[in-house]
Symmetry: C2
Subunit: 250 residues, 2 copies
DNA sequence: TTACTGTAAACTGTCAACAGTTTACTAAAA
DNA sequence: TTTTAGTAAACTGTTGACAGTTTACAGTAA
């Protein structure tokens, strides 16, 4: 599931339709996304098709398609006849994404509640427990991963595939934001316990099966998370990580 | 703005950066989207790269990219090594899209309200007036076009580019749904006046600058619109319009 | 007839090369 | 020195061809 933004969900334990061989485009997409999220490509850095193709030892075609896919995911920006670049993230982008999140995830919570899907609640609870453990152990990288998983699952369990697809479409950028946050967060006062508590509060609201309360909790949760981010980054995300030329490997 | 799903918004009256020459991919994307929306390709119909390329007198590369773009817009479905197909719309899809719309457009309304952007209200009012005129004249095609424009503008005026992009990402499919609706709606009792009244109600709620009321109005508006659609299509959208082979022209 | 098998046609995935544009660089002119 | 013009290099957009997979079909056996 290339489109899933790196979040694998599929199960194929018993006998089902065989997973079709991945195309080079798909693998290139996954690899490039990973590299960008890992920070191997800086914000705003140019992505030159030919250089990437050479590095991956494939032709430009699949690389081109991969870049298109990443553009659709919002991780890459394309300028006609000028090429592709890793996006530049600004505080304004963070604001936009968090408003979008509030819309999507608030609705997802509501849909879960109206469907009265108790198994969904159990799944969320399970992730919540893992989140608690990660907070206890102070594992920030794991925490952000589970944080993302919690919200992803929320959207998936809404039963609305398109809602989930929208989440996935910004999940990659969110992952990038989280990575930048982890790099910086050690210097801030914020604790994982606070962040965990926030998630627990959101879950309790969903668990109460009160749609309005859940939506409000979601709004508040994301408002706090956003303000936290803005505080951490103090106005500028793009820590002049900008680079003019391509540097396609690691 | 190829990504804009056929809804042109850009203004370049005074001196601004010159619009870069469109690529073949972009033109192919626009053309194919238009054709699909016009019904020249049936639901579920296969889109064969080579045939389309031949018909447009270009090579397969740009066609391939166009199909990828349309996939991102949700109008086309791709199966690895099997090809691209126009989507099949079911009632379940309509439900999904309308829940997504409620999330996105409700939030857009809220954002406009919290920003207290009165010029935005004026713009919406203007479209509303045009909508009224179309209803009076009984011009259903124009009405659906303006209906789409009203909601698109709502999202644009939210000031959140990503929110707007999500709207655009389902606008093409919505256009397809509206087209199918126009074909069928003559046999139903629903009147354009009712539909107009519904929009006016939504606008009044936004105009009142009460975010909660506006969100609820949006929910209700879309709930009604959805039920209307389901009533019209009576359970099955895909009126066995399905075709096995490609038929790339008109 | 029905189920199975093998073969040809159709189509997608991938590649390598060319054309035209953009960018970077060098040198001349103010 | 700063600006302008000119030139080479780099890069994207596009093309046509090939390889491997999927699909359709004809033929054979039950």
């Amino acid at each position: 599931m290339t489109e899933a933004g790196g979040i694998e969900v599929g199960d194929n334990g018993s006998l089902g339709p065989l997973r079709r061989a991945e195309t080079l485009s798909d693998r290139a997409t996954d690899l490039l996304r990973e590299r960008i999220l890992a920070g191997d490509f800086g914000l705003g850095e140019r992505l030159v098709e030919a250089k990437i193709a050479k590095r991956l030892e494939i032709s430009r075609g699949p690389v081109r398609e991969a870049l298109r896919q990443l553009r659709a995911e919002g991780l890459v920006r394309e300028e006609p006849r000028r090429g592709s670049f890793v996006i530049d993230l600004t505080i304004e982008d963070v604001r936009e994404i968090y408003d979008l999140r509030a819309a999507i995830e608030g609705r997802a919570a509501r849909l879960i509640i109206t469907s009265k899907d108790l198994a969904a609640l159990d799944e969320l609870r399970e992730i919540l427990h893992q989140l608690e453990r990660a907070a206890d152990e102070g594992d920030r990288t794991l925490f952000t991963k589970l944080d993302l998983a919690f919200h992803e699952r929320l959207c998936l369990l809404s039963g609305n595939g398109r809602l989930h697809r929208v989440f996935v479409s910004y999940a990659a950028v969110l992952g990038l934001i989280f990575r930048l946050e982890v790099d910086k967060i050690y210097t801030s006062r914020s604790s994982l316990e606070d962040l965990y508590g926030d998630h627990e509060k959101l879950f309790r609201a969903i668990e109460s099966l009160d749609a309005r309360r859940a939506e409000e909790a979601c709004d508040e949760h994301l408002d706090r998370a956003r303000e936290q981010l803005i505080k951490v980054f103090g106005g500028s995300l793009a820590k002049s990580e900008r680079a003019a030329d391509a540097r396609p490997g690691a």
